[in-house]
């Protein structure tokens, strides 16, 4: 049996759990169950859920923020300032949310079931020129940030600007934008770090949530041995992902910050609290309203995030 797995871009820290999962499953079944990971060959990055529903491939990765109407419940994890600080915390809140019946139903519309998250660090910003340390500094700042994150920055007077990720480097170089919000591996691959003079180490405004899903019918059709191999391998693959991300990406990140003399900006607790109040609160309220209009249990989703985070911190 071979499963086709659809993701996009190139092999990177963000896809290491897929590669690891393929390796582990094949090992555990002595090559009876293999996976073929395709980087963009099977689907566009915004249509992986479509492909799962069609039945064109058995497994896929997607990001909730690419298409919030496809997966409204999962977007709770992308709200600004939910307070997550580490990859472990991100894993904990993601898994708690994925376990909710409302989320399972949401995914079942696409004939999909979530296997594991792809935890991403917070989208801290890099910038050119003088470091911006306070909310007052954010006034008029042109930032490349999309979706809810863009709205959060807009709430404190910054100007989110719409452009593709690959345009960001030249836009920053020429001054079309002052700052860009990405996870570290994206700051590295889109080379915004080459232009940056500073990076906010603790602003932690939010991140994207990118689960790995399987086609429900394909999963149900597995033999008990295959199913067991898959179920057992997912946590192992995820642990490998986190370890790899922290060691290689974060390690490389810190090394490059040092080498290029990029300043780590530490935003004060008062400023962050003010930012959270200005952007996080209204975003939650608006999101709750929106979910309720669609008959989705907004409070339960939010409470699950808060509880899981508190539990992870214990």
């Amino acid at each position: 049996l071979e499963w086709n797995v659809s993701t996009w871009g190139k092999r990177r820290a963000f896809t290491e759990h897929l590669e690891k999962l393929a390796e582990l499953v094949s090992e555990k079944t002595n090559g009876d169950f293999t996976m073929n990971v395709s980087y963009g060959g099977l689907s566009n990055n915004k249509e992986n859920l479509d492909g799962i529903q069609i039945g064109a491939f058995e497994m896929a990765q997607f990001c909730a923020g690419y298409h919030e109407d496809k997966n409204p419940t999962v977007t709770v994890l992308e709200l600004p300032f939910i307070g997550v600080q580490t990859l472990e915390e991100e894993v904990a809140v993601s898994e708690a949310v994925y376990a909710l019946p409302a989320v399972k139903e949401d995914m079942a519309r696409w004939n999909a079931m979530i296997l594991m998250p792809s935890p991403m660090p917070q989208y801290n910003i890099v910038g050119t020129g003088e470091p911006r340390r306070t909310l007052a500094d954010f006034e008029g700042m042109r930032v490349r940030a999309t979706g809810g994150l863009g709205e959060a920055f807009a709430a404190v007077g910054a100007v989110p600007t719409s452009m593709t990720a690959s345009e960001v480097y030249s836009a920053m170089e020429s001054g079309v934008i002052d700052t860009a919000a990405f996870a570290q591996h994206a700051h590295l691959s889109f080379r915004t770090i080459d232009l940056a003079t500073w990076w906010t180490e603790n602003l932690n405004p939010g991140t994207v949530n990118c689960p790995v899903v399987a086609n429900i019918d394909a999963y149900e059709a597995l033999t008990p041995e295959q199913k067991q191999a898959l179920d057992e391998s997912a946590p192992e693959a995820l642990a490998y992902y986190v370890q790899n991300y922290e060691k290689n990406v974060i390690g490389e990140w810190n090394r490059i910050l040092e080498e290029k003399g990029v300043e780590k900006v530490h935003v004060s607790d008062e400023e962050i609290a003010a930012f959270r109040e200005a952007a996080g609160g209204p975003a939650r309220a608006a999101w709750t309203e929106q979910m309720k209009a669609q008959g989705l249990p907004a409070e339960e989703l939010l409470a699950t995030v808060d509880e899981a985070l508190a539990k992870a911190r214990e």
């Binding site: 298409h67 496809k70 042109r142 979706g147 719409s162 079309v176």
Partner: protein
Amino acid sequence: MAGHSSVREDSSALSRADRALFRVESGLNLAAGVVVFALMLLAVAQIMGRKLFNVPVPGFIDWVEQAMAVFAFLGIAYCQRVGGHIRMDILIGRLTGRALWVAELISTVLMLLLTLALTVGAFRHFQRAFDWNATWFSRDSSIDIALPLWPAKLLVPLALGLLALRLALQIWGFWRALRDDDDAPVAVPLIESAAEVAAAEAETVIGEPVGERERG
């Protein structure tokens, strides 16, 4: 003479259907052109808004991507009517009479079958993004400002459906030509001889669109 062909007209039902459809196709093609024009203005607004007032167009890329469905598809049947979809005519250009009509029939039937399959597939693509019970009927939205995607996705099967209609009409035309052994049938794109083209060219203003030229 791949990008060009002429369409003959008379008072038959087929030709009247052809011209009626062509009016619709021309209007849609012009709408596509107008959207290209509007996008250019939107980009200028984006630059000026950002530079002069620090206010870029919110969700600029999302708007552009939605608009792209218009100019990528709306003119597709028009383009087929005027023979604008490119092809190799090294072999087919040497055929005449019934042999030519058989070849054209095969090629057009193949296109129709494909277009019908794609119309169904594209409609399903729309259906996956559409939900009667959701806000704005939307079950799929754009990345930045969450525009509903179903209107753009609906455009594709509609444009492909119109193309299917055009292809069906051309199949009818080629079938009639084959049956009657007609050398100059109506309502189908004809591969022109150099002399015919030169004569047509002489009486037209350069730069007039092909469709306009043929009607006049």
